[in-house]
């Protein structure tokens, strides 16, 4: 089970901030989320949305372990 975190406007759109979701890869996780909530699925693939696995930004797909933390990071506001 990956620990999935949403930030900023993505959290408001989805209506949740953190969930445990079974997925073997980022790609599979995106597909699962998109099938549950197509609007969220589209937003996660939106311009400027970055993905971090275990707090490191990844590009494209990445394998997930049983204790992986996946964060979807929309464009940052700055402080």
């Amino acid at each position: 089970m990956a620990r999935v975190l949403l930030f900023g406007p993505l959290r408001d759109l989805a209506g949740w901030r953190e969930r445990q979701i079974a997925a073997a890869s980022v790609h599979e996780l995106r597909a699962t989320l998109a099938s549950e909530d197509p609007e969220l699925g589209a937003a996660l693939g939106g311009k400027g949305v970055q993905v971090a696995v275990d707090q490191a930004v990844v590009r494209g797909d990445a394998a997930l372990g049983p204790a992986s933390e996946v964060a979807f990071l929309p464009p940052m506001s700055g402080g």
Binding site: G8, P9, A52, Q55, L73, M76, S77, G78, G79
Partner: protein, 147 residues
């Protein structure tokens, strides 16, 4: 070097006192304190979200750049997260260097980064509802000055 996030209000004067104490080779300390604006009543509360661990690490990478580029002796960054009221300090940056120019410039450099690139998500709550805020064109232009 200290990089911290806090949900609690802070006293910039106390931070400056602590930062300057015990230094004998540092000739210059520059600081910047950012304060949440009321925007003529449009902002009742500013809500700032960070990704704990990730946000400090990303700020740390730019802090390392600043230390090398400006030859800093030390620096400190404290940033509020959570709900912030107008008039409350939201960010404190202090830089220590041998001479003033490096301290001033490093402080400016760090703030330009923090305002445009740092991993925060900022929401304004006001009488007309709430809205997410993105960096302005000016914020991006300010950061680009540094190459």
């Amino acid at each position: 070097m200290s990089i911290r996030l806090t949900e609690a209000p802070f006293d910039p004067g106390a931070l400056l006192t602590a930062f300057t104490s015990g230094r004998s080779e540092t000739g210059a300390v520059a600081t910047f304190t950012g304060i949440a604006r009321a925007e003529a009543g449009r902002t009742a509360i500013l809500e700032l979200e960070a990704y704990p661990g990730f946000t400090e690490a990303e700020i740390g990478r730019i802090a390392d750049q600043a230390r090398a580029r400006f030859g800093l002796h030390d620096l400190a960054i404290l940033h509020r997260v959570g709900r912030i009221q107008p008039g409350e300090p939201i960010v404190f940056v202090a830089t220590a260097a041998g001479h003033r120019r490096a301290a001033f410039e490093a402080c400016d450099f760090l703030m330009d980064y923090l305002k445009s690139r740092a991993p925060f998500w900022k929401k304004e709550h006001g009488p007309d509802g709430e809205r997410w805020i993105e960096p302005t064109a000016q914020d991006h232009a300010d950061r680009e000055r540094w190459g």
